[in-house]
Subunit: 505 residues, 2 copies
Amino acid sequence: MAANTIAKVQSGEKNKKEETDLKLSNRKDENFGDWYSEVVVSAELIEHYDISGLYILRPSAVEIWETLQAFFDPEIKKMNVKNCYFPMFVLESHMKKKKDHYDSFSQEVALVTKSGESTMDIPLAIRPSSETIMYPYYSKWIRGHRDLPLKLNQWCNVVRWVIGDPTPFIRSREFLWQEGHSAFATEAEAHAEALEILELYRRIYEEYLAVPVIKGTKSEVDTFGGAVSTNTVEAFIPNTGRGIQGATTHCLGQKFAEKFEVNFEDEKRDKTMVWQNSWGYSTRTIGAMVMVHGDDKGLVLPPKVASIQVIVIPVPYKDADTQGTNDACELTVKILCEAKIRAELDSRDNHSPERKYSEWEMKGVPLRIEIGPNDLANKQVSVVRRDNGAKMDIGNADLVEEIKKLLINIQQNMFNVAKQKRDECIQVIHTWDEFVEALNQRKMILAPWCDEKVVELDVTEKTTNEIGAAKVLCSPFDQPELVEGTKCFASGKPAKKWTYWGRSY
Amino acid sequence: MAANTIAKVQSGEKNKKEETDLKLSNRKDENFGDWYSEVVVSAELIEHYDISGLYILRPSAVEIWETLQAFFDPEIKKMNVKNCYFPMFVLESHMKKKKDHYDSFSQEVALVTKSGESTMDIPLAIRPSSETIMYPYYSKWIRGHRDLPLKLNQWCNVVRWVIGDPTPFIRSREFLWQEGHSAFATEAEAHAEALEILELYRRIYEEYLAVPVIKGTKSEVDTFGGAVSTNTVEAFIPNTGRGIQGATTHCLGQKFAEKFEVNFEDEKRDKTMVWQNSWGYSTRTIGAMVMVHGDDKGLVLPPKVASIQVIVIPVPYKDADTQGTNDACELTVKILCEAKIRAELDSRDNHSPERKYSEWEMKGVPLRIEIGPNDLANKQVSVVRRDNGAKMDIGNADLVEEIKKLLINIQQNMFNVAKQKRDECIQVIHTWDEFVEALNQRKMILAPWCDEKVVELDVTEKTTNEIGAAKVLCSPFDQPELVEGTKCFASGKPAKKWTYWGRSY
């Protein structure tokens, strides 16, 4: 039964507002943007804030963030990355030392100019990223080859005062992220670590959020300001036909080291510059997950990141053994929790079971267990999957084993379904006409490209309309064979690589 | 052997700078302030930043912070507190809604007025604390009694642009903390939770940082802006005779609820205001720990918060079995790590053992294990305690058991020693003359007081000199008997309670 039906059936005068809140008024297929804005609020991930472009992360969002952190933080510690915390304020003069880097952020930098009634001598920029904050100290701390590698990470907030079209999680003016910054004696090490971290980002998306991503490199246009190259895990939203840069690792080469004098005495006692990388993933991850999995009933959470994996709801019937069903529910929760399954009881007596179903569906809880008099009599529970709505009975004796299997199955199924939908969007093209047609069909376009910046800019210009413009999403690491003589779809010049194109967030 | 001696013995031309860095040039007893500034840098907790009053928290500091977090965060989750994240920017108009609260921060609030080249319509304040950011949304989220209690916490940075005398950890312009904010239907619940959290703060100080604290209430002068009352865990630094507010919980009564219209429909359907509290501890905890335990060799870390609890150092002799001692060291680390003891090997071949000793002493590692040819022959390791310098041999067979015992013993001993020193500073007085004398002796003064604000302000004024002024530290929960007719030491009026006084950080 759909949430909106329930709302209609139940809404008396008294609970009208509350019941109505449960129903999404937008449909994912019809009006994606409004659907997204509505679902993040209705599922209580986000509350809008009274300053535009800023959002309150409610506990359900922070719980997902903490789950990803609990995976990623120990992984980087195994790689000997250490956590640190640098101030969030930086002198603009430091930022300006690396001009291409500064230019890429300068329009978005928030500046503190006053404290209380006093005007500050020098305005202080709030970090949009911490390269220029950290690297002067790398210069100080790194003296000899024994000081390398230096690998630091911090969990923090950053501010990018973007203009236009803020979107919760995806494009907000303050967001949470981690930023890792490593310095090595050799280019090979810096490069290898950037790929190792990219693999962790892939696992965050694919293993935790059940969102398929493509590993690749960004084009020159989208390379991080001041970097040599940028690696990405690129997700895709079939409903809008837009790519979404999931998380990135940047090979900085020696470009920052040169500006900030980060050098060391090598084993031959020669002074050499370090090789650096930087890498980050942010709360944007949560937004991509909502976009990929959510449906017209609300959020759909992959079990691995669901802080409640199983919600247990008693279904009383008049004259039936209410105490019995309640006790069975409590026992069920206890048994599941003891087996390390995150289960919770909804014992509220001011809501009907149907109202509870739609509420937990809105919040995306992967499994719902209902226990009524029949279930009690049959020594079973009734289970409903959030991902596909499938309903089944499970005998009490098999409870833990079956629920565990189901959670694993849901996690895998969500990924498979998302991957199938994403793969159906991928279209290989060779000519400009094919490109335009595929773009109109909101495809993730795989095309042979000459890898020239002017050509990408030209494609972007030619495709610009009210819903955006095409650009390079990434050149996948996993390259299909490029047949000798293949031409670039846009310039007609010899193609150098296969590259994904599309509109983007 | 003292670190400075070693530095002298070893410093060849080549390593001069590095070796000299290991020696503290200030002594804790002679020049406490300079000693503190030096030790936090030399132990690599802090690096000075190029904007005054801001500090870089290096990995050794963040590791301690994370250990405290790993204790506190699960504890508050058990109490059903949920983590969230609110934006760090707030409209000044919101802050001004609660005038007494705003006034207490207004001089320290950093204001963002520009983004890139554009001037903002309205300047945005950066949170000094989040009451005025959060409570408008509490007003929105809380409707009925079933929405209560609402208990939210966030881990974040805050900014208080204090003027004058910044001190690492203790008084910095940006710092990390957690801030918890709960709303209840009844005053009793809000009060009880504030005490429950205060007990967790006591445990952070006493059980983790081995720093004795006194639980009590702040006087009216130091009550949090806008609160009804403020509870504190108050530490004391014998060397300077200053109290230090360790962490606080505030009973807000209905004072914020009134301004931000946080009310609910109770069970009788009457509209009632909620009762609130807020509570926080910050990276200041680390500063108090350094001040209490550090010595002239550097930091001394309690084992519970030491990210390295045991450092293992091979002690090669010429012609002896270097491979043998190295292997024994590796095996020792392996055995200890398998027993969940945080042990590490210092196998660097470019430093003498003595140089390593002083380095790890500077960093405060609780236990050092040395293994030389003799130890190898005797199937033993040589162990040195950081807290008291005691040296002993431990047979390999008893290694894990003995090291575990030692770590527990060090933790307890550090607390006992600190408590004894603190207790020796406590002086009970009854008259103004006794008060002045005790203050000159840098005591933590316990005095009968009339509990009047004007009297405290008067005491502060009369005792102001170049090193500060006396004020109330706290009125301890644990009150000695107040004999009928006891007079206030300062006003001569009837005393209402016993109160700790002293200078303060």
